[in-house]
Symmetry: C2
Subunit: 160 residues, 2 copies
């Protein structure tokens, strides 16, 4: 957890455990692709205002080449209510809305935006669970004609 | 310009001049608010894949408190064609599409996504001009019932 800089905004106290850097491994699968593994780093920071900045990058587990990335912001506009806005380098943006209950963040796209050249992602749903210094998450995706299907699971440990 | 790390993806060569960090001052105005000034830092980085990562932060010009922030990715899916996907901590995401012509990047929202608590931004349009080490930009916005109106102008200089 950051121990310098401005104090954490009161609205973010229920998310204070996310502040820092998490690293670990994940695996992905989907009906249209071969299963794959990845290494991941997730960073949550704050500037004293009522949002956390979120950045994520993944790398190939063997050759270390860059794979996915995401960047955006997480807010708690009311107790237990969560909003996540995200951009992907694949030309996708997401508005995800949901809940924070007992340390579990459950979010699903209320809207998704695609550039003209982006893949036809229809919806995403995410669940983040923080227990002590372990952050696990799952992502479900609807893509093109495939209905919502489990896509990603990762288990990360706090490194700072 | 970054001179280490992986080589720049061929598709990004027309944007190579953006790689680095730019800082400077901007001013904002809009019919619904008082005019304001800000200090800004903009960063463009790459990882060898066909997108630039874009991060922006602004600070109050006097007391230095954080003001706005944005984060996302810029792509050139075909020569002269530009796509920018962005998330804002105010609960807004943008898909902007447009052109890169003679060093001028012209982009406008093809879609915009808002969380349930976000302000009613209807559309955004941006123009970035890079001349030597000076990056200037303008932003126009339609908000609630106000039609598209000039909102922001900034002039930044390369610092790295």
């Amino acid at each position: 957890m950051a121990d310098h800089g401005p104090p954490l905004h009161d609205a973010l106290v229920p998310l204070a455990g996310l502040l820092g850097v998490f690293e670990g491994e994940g695996r992905g699968d989907y009906p249209t692709i071969e299963a794959f593994g990845y290494r991941e780093r997730v960073t949550f920071t704050h500037v004293g205002k009522p949002f956390l900045a979120y950045q994520q990058r993944t790398w190939h587990p063997e050759h270390g080449g860059p794979m996915h990335a995401e960047t955006g912001y997480l807010r708690l506009p009311a107790p237990g209510v969560a909003e996540l806005v995200l951009a992907h380098p694949t030309g996708i943006v997401e508005v995800e809305e949901g809940t924070l209950t007992d340390g579990v963040l459950r979010l699903a796209t209320s809207s998704i935006g695609l550039t003209g050249t982006a893949k036809q992602v229809r919806s995403l749903r995410r669940e983040f669970v923080l227990e002590a210094d372990t952050l696990t998450y799952d992502v479900w995706m609807a893509y093109d004609t495939v209905p919502e299907t489990h896509h990603l699971h990762a288990r990360l440990r706090r490194v700072t």
